[in-house]
Amino acid sequence: MPGKLKVKIVAGRHLPVMDRASDLTDAFVEVKFGNMTFKTDVYHKSLNPQWNSEWFKFEVDDEDLQDEPLQITVLDHDTYSANDAIGKVYIDIDPLLYSEAATVISGWFPIYDTIHGIRGEINVVVKVDLFNDLNRFRQSSCGVKFFCTTSIPKCYRAVIIHGFVEELVVNEDPEYQWIDRIRTPRASNEARQRLISLMSGELQRKIGLKVLEMRGNAVVGYLQCFDLEGESGLVVRAIGTACTLDKLSSTAAFLPACNSPSKEMKEIPFNEDPNPNTHSSGPSTPLKNQTYSFSPSKSYSRQSSSSDTDLSLTPKTAPYPQGPRIFLCPSSPSLSSGSPHLKKSCLLSESSLTPHHSSHISPVVLRKSVSFSEELLLAASGMGSGSAGKEGGPFKALLRQQTQSALEQREFPFFTLTAFPPGFLVHVGGVVSARSVKLLDRIHNPDEPETRDAWWAEIRQEIKSHAKALGCHAVVGYSESTSICEEVCILSASGTAAVLNPRFLQDGTVEGCLEQRQEENLPAGCGFCHIPYDELNMPFPAHLTYCYSCRKQKVPDVLFTTIDLPTDATVIGKGCLIQARLCRLKKKAQAEANATAISNLLPFMEYEVHTQLMNKLKLKGMNALFGLRIQITVGENMLMGLASATGVYLTALPTPGGIQIAGKTPNDGSYEQHISHMQKKINDTIAKNKELYEINPPEIPEEIIGSPIPEPRQRSRLLRSQSESSDEVIELDLSHGKKDAFVLEIDDTDAMEDVHSLLTDVPPPSGFYSCNTEIMPGINNWTSEIQMFTSVRVSRLSNINLTNQTLNKNFNDLCENLLKSLYFKLRSMIPCCLCHVNFTVSLPEDELIQVTVTAVAITFDKHQAVQTTKTHVEKSLQRASTDNEELLQFPLELCTDSLGSHPFSPAKEHLESASSNSGIPAAQRATSIDYSSFADRCNSWIELIKLKAQTIRRGSIKTTVSVEKASPLTEGHFRQRSAPACANSTVGVVKMTPLSFIPGAKITKYLGIINMFFIRETTSLREEGGVSGFLHAFIAEVFAMVRAHVAALGGNAVVSYIMKQCVFMENPNKNQAQCLINVSGDAVIFVRESELEIISTQQPIASCQPACGGGEIAT
């Protein structure tokens, strides 16, 4: 499918002075694609040249269209010597290759030079004409859409979620080629930029081919990374989730729409296995074996999949005969859960406990299972985990068997998504992760990246087996990362083991109705918390109770996941960012010895990170972690571990017990005193945190829950309430007897340090919340002001007497101070929440620690929060009452309890907000007040500037400034109103956010993926303001280039923006520094909801369907 690429160079502006004599420039432009080059005329003596060139036409293969970037070079003509390059623009034309995205790229692009940074701008127009071609053996994959967003993009509907796609390509790093010794740094940087651009184009094309093979049409959650392996080469790898997406048109009904694509897709998963095996061969028993085997045999998985296929193929007719059969199928799965390597990978629960199951079966559950005809799977799954004992086994087995159908055929049932269509996620097992330490060797043949492929395959295999051990057949929220130091490389992969609803994986025809049913049937959004694994054969020790929401099925006491909080999950209070930070010294070593030392350290680090997370979670009075991301970074002489997650209190999980400190030497009096002092401090902190995050779960009388779980004997002496403040009602004490306190044993100074460090974490100042997930649990009334930012800190460790403790403290301080700085900087946005806080740690040199944070601050409306929390409570009340018809007592109690003690009664909230309004420190208010008086003065010429802008831009709307200056306190409103004014300015505003949505707005179109790689180098570091000045300018330039590309595509925002790499190297002695940055995101067009209403009154738009509701609450 060849295509014609057309490029027109219109004009330049703000060019640098290249001729000192005249203070002017004789600029011309070279346009290069592949091996073809065109040139414009020289525009003499101007810093604002008007070339207005003809259309340069490139007739090229679509393979090249996908791989090659369009390269535009601006030069200064010199009659006597060589022409000087001013700078370059690389344009990825991929967004033009699929019909639904952008049709033209047109706009001002910053002219970028790797040595000088941005040097003026150039106006370019790019178009592509594609010719249709039905070549079966094509190498290109034009038309496959790519999304960085890790949920189903807002204006699409998932027809089928096919699953994991991955690819990697390797090459020699130009920086390390022999020619680099003789060429200029600029040439070397440009070679590198170009190569990476080419490689990522190629990678995307190859992934696209895989998607087409799967008969998908899009990749969601596309994550592409570079591994700069130094001498041994350059690896570009990507993972993603292949999907068949259906565009939600505003008027068309969606049911017929989803039929057409799925029809042809339906055959795909089944055709692969032509062997129509029967499922009469007792599916459950062998499946058990398979589930827990660590190296799943391929032949087996095929067999099982075929048998599943039958089941899932006939979802409407099969269930009745099959329903009862489940009971008749006796299996005695026996697994001695002693998987050794699970210790380091399964982050689920710490409290060791041998589970005793009760033989009691709830009759309700049984009834339920029969009554659900079509929802066999769900019912079965619910029952499987709910009814304890022998019956549980077969149910689960069947469930697994069925849902595996779509997954088992694939090598890796992984999903890079972190948020899902409702009903997709059935159960969540816990976090699975795997790491491996590798020694890098030179990649000899770039066309055969087998070693790297094999490494990743190995890791994925391990992840898969971990997931199976958790009774899960899939891994969601999956991601991969590397950390490289010299020739040692740590490969990491992690995800959340889960049980998925198979229907999404195969055909989407019944999806619409399916969802509705699920809404009805799934109780209180607690389903995903229920354990997917077998209670008898738990793969690791866990403390199980009956679900606190539905009271029918078992849940663990804590839940760790890498995904976002499901939208239907009920939480109490707000969430918060929880981080575990850890350093470990390591001896400097070479090659093998080094790798061994690192692998030996890894399990300890994992363990400690986990312990820290658990402690901090308890300290916050919460019981679940979402968005968990553990990064282990390797340096010359140390390892760093940084785990970030968002803690929440899930209603379905039990109230966490407190933290109990136990000393080892009880005979020492002063020591005892010290311990009790610490204990008190901890208890106070927990109480404070509960208040801060509004965690006030309704107390539930123990009888209702029943007490199926006997107390662990070894801990019985420690059973004391730590978490509740003393002034609460007496009945609480009853329940406390059942809660397990978390014990910290202080046996040496190390442990003491740990406890201290626990208490050093300061909560964010009032009015601030932070999380690393998409949306903050407990806040859903976002206002439209957003501020995305990147902050980088590099800290030098003092070399003397480095111990693990001082290192830990330094690292901890570094992170805490960074957070404090962020809170201070963004104080004018209060009340606001830092969302998607993404920390990255690297160790660029011996004593240097680099921490990079990217996040977005979003303001929210305090007043509306009252209503939403109230409705939230009401909703959960309703749910609770419908779910517990036989327990009439309970909802009533809950009712009085929650209404009486809820701190957010409207009146109080009013007072609070009023006081906080007036209580805003003068410093914050002063600025805005100051401004308002100033605004008077500025008024007239703001108008003037706007008028000027308007003359340039057509179709602009005149806004009145007088409104804006009126309210100095509502800066948020101010900005919101002035937003259209900004659009009038010659430079359109482009929003950037790491989230998949824009608060208060609706994304109407996805324009394509933005994936950019930049290198900046300087040999005059001091003159550019030192390292800070250099990097500050560079990051600002990167933002500018991203915005310019988005604007040129016709977009006004980047969502799911991520800075994947920020590699900074300096050599102050030589006055040099170099930095590499890789960013990506989705370019979109959004429309403010307020504007949308105006449109919709003119032309009614069908309401958005639940399918696109990933982040619906938030918008």
């Binding site: 100042p765 800290s795 004014a981 430079v987 915005r1043």
Partner: protein, 366 residues
Amino acid sequence: MTNELDIFVGNTTLIDEDVYRLWLDGYSVSDAVGLRVRSGILEQTGATAGVLQSDTMDHYRTFHMLERLLHTPPKLLHQLVFQIPPSRQALLIERYYAFDEAFVREVLGKKLSKGTKKDLDDISTKTGVTLKSCRRQFDNFKRVFKVVEEMRGSLAGNIQQHFLLSDRLARDYAAVVFFANNRFETGKKKLQYLTFGDLAFCAELMIQNWTPGAVGEQPPDPPPYSQVDDMDVDLDKEFLQDLKELKVLVADKDLLDLHKSLVCTALRGKLSVFPEMEANFKNLSRGLVNIASKLTHTKDVRDLFVDLVEKFIEPCRSDRWPLNDVRLFLNQYSASVHSLDGFRHQALWDRYMVTLRSCLLRMYHD
């Protein structure tokens, strides 16, 4: 453990107005941190000194990067590197170009050259404005001067267009440019009592009435390369030449007497200082007319304000004329000329006196 690198970059560039002011005022980072600490910001926000230091550094760095753009404000509007809402852009520009009263009084009317720049040290010590801030303000004057010096059309309009300043500030700059171009002496001790506002007021009137641009709007088709290129910056040479004709008012004794009698008749009983006026009339009139007739000499143009104070304001002030009496006198003084039959330059007289009268009234205070 020390932070080698510490940066914060927002998609929308964060501007802290307080820090911007400190930066404009020329404080070093450590001084600025000290001042911020004293403002009580730490207590209000619960931040630490380290946080404040890092925040201040960051803002200073941003301002430093923005400064290059602020030198040509239209570039700030079109650049892509810093995403700043228009209202904030306007604020940045306006504040950057704002100047201190104390400073402007020192350099007003001086040649904006390297020589003056060397004196900034002294000005800084004298005015208490930091040297950095003095440099910025001086460079602003010079930059604006250079850009609009050779331009046709309204001075304030040109400034506004090229520097995107507010109307008020653009007019102030027009005054600064006008003073610098004509090198009016403003630094003499007896002129010290005049504020920048007084002088800017006078400058504005002179630009409106005494420059070539003042005659008509603009000549319909501008004469190519004529010497009247600078429409608003230079005084109208022809006008100054014509002013010599006014000399007859004091040189012709009859005319002077007639003028005096007309004024005295009209003001008798209306002035509290009538006797003093009567006694001083000839001196005052001679002073005002002589100033006009001497304006052909550049030297005398420079001394315009000195002369006005010496020849008119000081005599009146020493006789304790109330402002209202000065107003009545000047009105009558200029109006009576129309009744002088032998005097043919009525239009010229008005062009001169209307401006001069307003200037004198504005300048007449302690």
